[in-house]
Amino acid sequence: MKSVLPILTVLAAIVVIWYGAAVGLNSKWTYDQAARAGQDVSFSQLVTDTMTQERPVLPAPHQVAKGLWEGVAGQKITSKRSLVYHGGVTFSATMAGFVLGAVAGILLAVGIVHNRAMDMSVMPWAIASQTIPILAIAPMVIVVLASLGIKGLLPKAIIAAYLSFFPILVGMVKGLRAPDGMQLDLLRTYNASGSETFWKLRLPSSMPYFFASLKVGIAAALVGTIVAELPAGATQGLGARLLSGSYYGQTIQIWAALFAAAALAAVLVIVVGAIEKVVLRKMGMAR
């Protein structure tokens, strides 16, 4: 309960600032309209008008909330206007990409920790891969795969995996290397094999790092999926919703899609966090 008050305070401050910004940013249109009609604008008129525009520069919070509510609850979930429908499309690609990225990240990390040659060679490439702006590659990947007849979920999942494997790789390398010299020496006195050392010591030691990296990785997978939904042609998913909103100047639609994406990210991270709690408690690592 103690932690709720500061959060609510910050939230209230954001809403107040947001309303203020909405009035400020949307006022130009109101003044232009009034000037054209040869009217004066009183302050109360200004406030009401800036908060009810159809295509505001910055929609007011309640407009976004309304857009979000209509998108989520006001449509059949199979409707093209339903945020649940688009969210579902984005979610499935995110999960596919996340699983792909996690598997790739874990396998590469295991390789790096056990093989000197991989240790020297893989990491620089992995780091280089993340310095390439995803916005630049995503359209190329989509176009190339589409020309091969691969469309839909897979291209998006690949881009999501591309972003999510890296934090998981880094986290797992650190986690698998977490055991100190003494713990490794102990296993040496038992004449334990490499695979016994892995299963009994390295893997369990890496769990806290693993879950921390999964949280970053799943958020990255969502970003990757949305970016992959932006290039021309996509009609489904939160990314497509963002793009079509910006084509037609539907700022409320853009903001509603943005908030839907943020909520999806929050839910994903919270779910991973819950699984983390359960697993670490089961393992006796959480007190």
Binding site: M182, Q183, D185, L186, L187, R188, T189, Y190, N191, A192, E196, K200, L201, P204, M207, M283, G284, M285, R287
Partner: protein, 259 residues
């Protein structure tokens, strides 16, 4: 034949600041069933010598045999139980699970594991704590659990590197007493590193006094204290004080060499 025999053993670490002579011309024979303490100021090579015996470090000169084998062959034959200064229990395993760790690796059957866990937990006076997690135990209890872990398989040699160094005096006294009982019951050969003169004298049948730069043995004292009966009060006896005095002299001599 000695269980452990070092002849002109040398070990030089190559560091960025030049070579460090951690062990110089070490000669020592340890017979089966002995309790040998290594005492000396830090940096005199106690840990390094113990690690050489356990094949965790490779000497750069001389010879070292364990049960007539090379240390590495003895390691592969699982001849050692090693107790480190920190208990190093796995937080994700219960106490019983931690003790099973070496047994799993050595391929004991489930029934045999359970039976051994029970036995060694009693041996270190932790009966009934098998289901607890390490964080639920005090430091002294954790260290006892780590000793139990080293006793669980049938290693003939128990190597202990300042196992009670981080514990307070009272807990330490109690653990020393228990360790002696345990040694008598199991008839293992024990190599024990310590900083404390009373601890070394109280526990050992043989006290190896070492001094640093280069790490070497300055005195080897065969204890005249009775082997079977050593109550804590023995530490006030004249015989005990005489041995302690000789250890202190040995340590001081090592220091004088230094200046």
């Amino acid at each position: 034949m000695p269980v452990i025999e070092a002849k002109d053993l040398n070990l030089t670490f190559q560091t960025n600041d030049g070579p460090v002579h951690a062990l110089k011309d070490v000669n020592l024979a340890i017979e089966k069933g002995e309790f040998v303490s290594f005492i000396g100021p830090s940096g005199c090579g106690k840990t390094t010598f113990l690690r050489c015996i356990a094949a965790l470090e490779t000497p750069t000169g001389g010879s070292l045999t364990v049960n007539g084998m090379s240390p590495d062959d003895a390691r592969k034959a699982r001849s050692y139980g090693y107790v480190f200064q920190a208990a190093g229990l796995y937080p994700w395993r219960t106490i019983a699970g931690n003790i099973k760790l070496p047994l799993e690796i050595m391929g004991y059957s489930r029934a045999e594991m359970d039976q051994r866990v029970e036995k060694v937990l009693d041996l270190v006076d932790l009966g009934g704590f098998g289901k607890k997690f390490p964080w639920q135990l005090s430091g002294g209890m954790q260290q006892r659990a780590s000793i139990a872990r080293a006793l669980a398989f049938d290693a003939e040699i128990l190597l202990m590197d300042e196992p009670f160094g981080a514990l307070d005096e009272i807990v330490r006294d109690k653990l020393n007493e228990e360790l002696l009982k345990l040694w008598k019951r199991t008839e293992k050969t024990i190599g024990f590193v310590t900083h404390s003169i009373p601890e070394a004298v109280y526990l050992s049948t043989k006290i190896v006094v070492m001094s640093p730069r280069p790490g070497r043995i300055t005195d080897v004292i065969d204890s005249t204290l009775p082997r079977d009966e050593r109550p804590l009060e023995i530490r006030d006896s004249a015989e005990f004080l005489a041995i302690a005095h000789r250890v202190r002299e040995g340590l001081r001599a090592g220091h004088a060499y230094d200046e």
